[in-house]
């Protein structure tokens, strides 16, 4: 594409970064990112990706905006209560940057929708709210070879990890299997501060931009943990597990299956 004067002005402050420039901006314009969840992580992540000029964003979320979402899901406003989250998010993102195409999938991610949505995107951001979806997204990305940014946030803490299938540890390499129903001892809502989710969501966008630009060191083979109360980040090295069920030497998972962990109506965030 050719850059108009408006493009140059809009992105001028990032165009002058040597890691971006016009070639980098063009890469972003041609890139696509699928965000699972338009909530506490997906909202800030999508904002920064759209603002930076990523060409196409897909948003997957089956929920409607509720009043209790607004303290952390910064794309939604009071007047959006009751609306589809992905529609509300699409409107705000388009207003921010009309150059970014936003595709709204008002759907729950399961094996079938994962198979249908993922192939059209370069990078996947997992900002979902339950472990069943986390394993499903991980397995889908490994099987389809899609880079994945995993982020989690609860209460005052968060986690982040970049997964490049075949190159770096996947979610299952680090956390081999989801808990069985009843294995999570308490199922009460744990609570979360909006800013905690904002930190992790923003870092997810940052890692996605690095991957799309091919610059810097991806946060892979390490798990970044954030403790907001202590004001501390830590990185613990993790590694690929040869026995990993999905990316190991002899994987036992060859196709996507939806895992039902919902018998415990546990939602951490």
């Amino acid at each position: 594409m050719s850059f108009t004067k408006e493009h140059i002005a809009r992105y001028s402050r990032q165009l002058i970064l040597p890691e971006i420039g016009l070639p980098g901006q063009q890469r972003l314009q041609e890139a696509s990112v699928l965000l699972i969840g338009a909530g506490g992580l997906g909202c800030p992540a999508a904002l920064y990706l759209a603002a930076a000029g990523v060409g196409r964003l897909g948003l997957v979320d089956a929920d409607a905006v509720s009043l209790s979402n607004l303290h952390r899901q910064v794309l939604h406003a009071t007047a959006d209560i009751g609306r589809s989250k992905v529609e509300s998010a699409r409107e705000k993102l388009t207003a921010l940057n009309p150059e970014t195409e936003v595709v709204a999938y008002h759907a729950r991610l399961d094996a079938a929708t994962a198979k249908s949505f993922l192939p059209a995107y370069d990078v996947v951001l997992d900002g979902s709210d339950n472990l069943a979806t986390r394993y499903l997204v991980n397995d889908a990305c490994v099987l389809l070879g899609k880079p994945l940014i995993y982020g989690g946030a609860v209460q005052w803490r968060g986690q982040l990890m970049v997964i490049r299938p075949g190159q770096s540890a996947c979610f299952r390499c680090v956390f081999p299997e989801p808990p069985q129903p009843g294995e999570i001892p308490d199922c009460q809502a744990a609570g979360i501060l909006g800013a905690t989710a904002g930190v992790i969501g923003t870092l997810m966008a940052q890692e996605a931009l690095k991957l799309l630009l091919g610059t810097g060191q991806p946060l892979e083979n390490q798990l970044l943990t954030y403790d907001a109360l202590a004001g501390a980040f830590r990185r613990v090295p993790v590694r690929r597990d040869p026995d990993c069920a999905v990316c190991g030497v002899h994987p036992s998972i060859h196709a996507l299956v939806s895992i039902d962990l919902m018998s415990c109506s546990h939602k951490e965030a």
């Binding site: 997906g42 803490r157 968060g158 680090v174 744990a190 989710a197 613990v236 939602k267």
Partner: protein, 92 residues
């Protein structure tokens, strides 16, 4: 001197809100046993009924995942740093 065990936030209500507690033992298994003695109820949040590490929890000794060392038989010594890190599901 003892071994510092870092406790993840969800388990800190079992450790009187302490994020780091000193424990003793020669292996991770002994360490977790000592942790349970000091803070009853905490071990079942980390290990299943057979004493095996729960699958969505990781234990790191000096920043190395014990699954790639000798599991719960991994040796620990005074001054070591042990972290318990569960997966975080939340985000929406």
């Amino acid at each position: 001197m003892a071994i510092t065990v870092r406790i993840p936030t969800p388990l800190q209500r079992l450790t009187n809100s302490q994020s780091e507690v000193p424990c003793e033992g020669k292996t991770v298994a002994e360490l977790l046993g000592d942790l349970e003695k000091r803070y009853p109820g905490i071990k079942e949040r980390i290990c299943d009924a057979d004493g095996k590490l729960r699958r969505f929890v990781n234990v790191f000794v000096n920043e190395e995942d014990i699954r790639f060392l000798q599991g719960d038989q991994t040796a620990v010594k005074d001054g070591d740093d042990v972290s318990i890190i569960p997966a975080i599901a939340g985000g929406a």
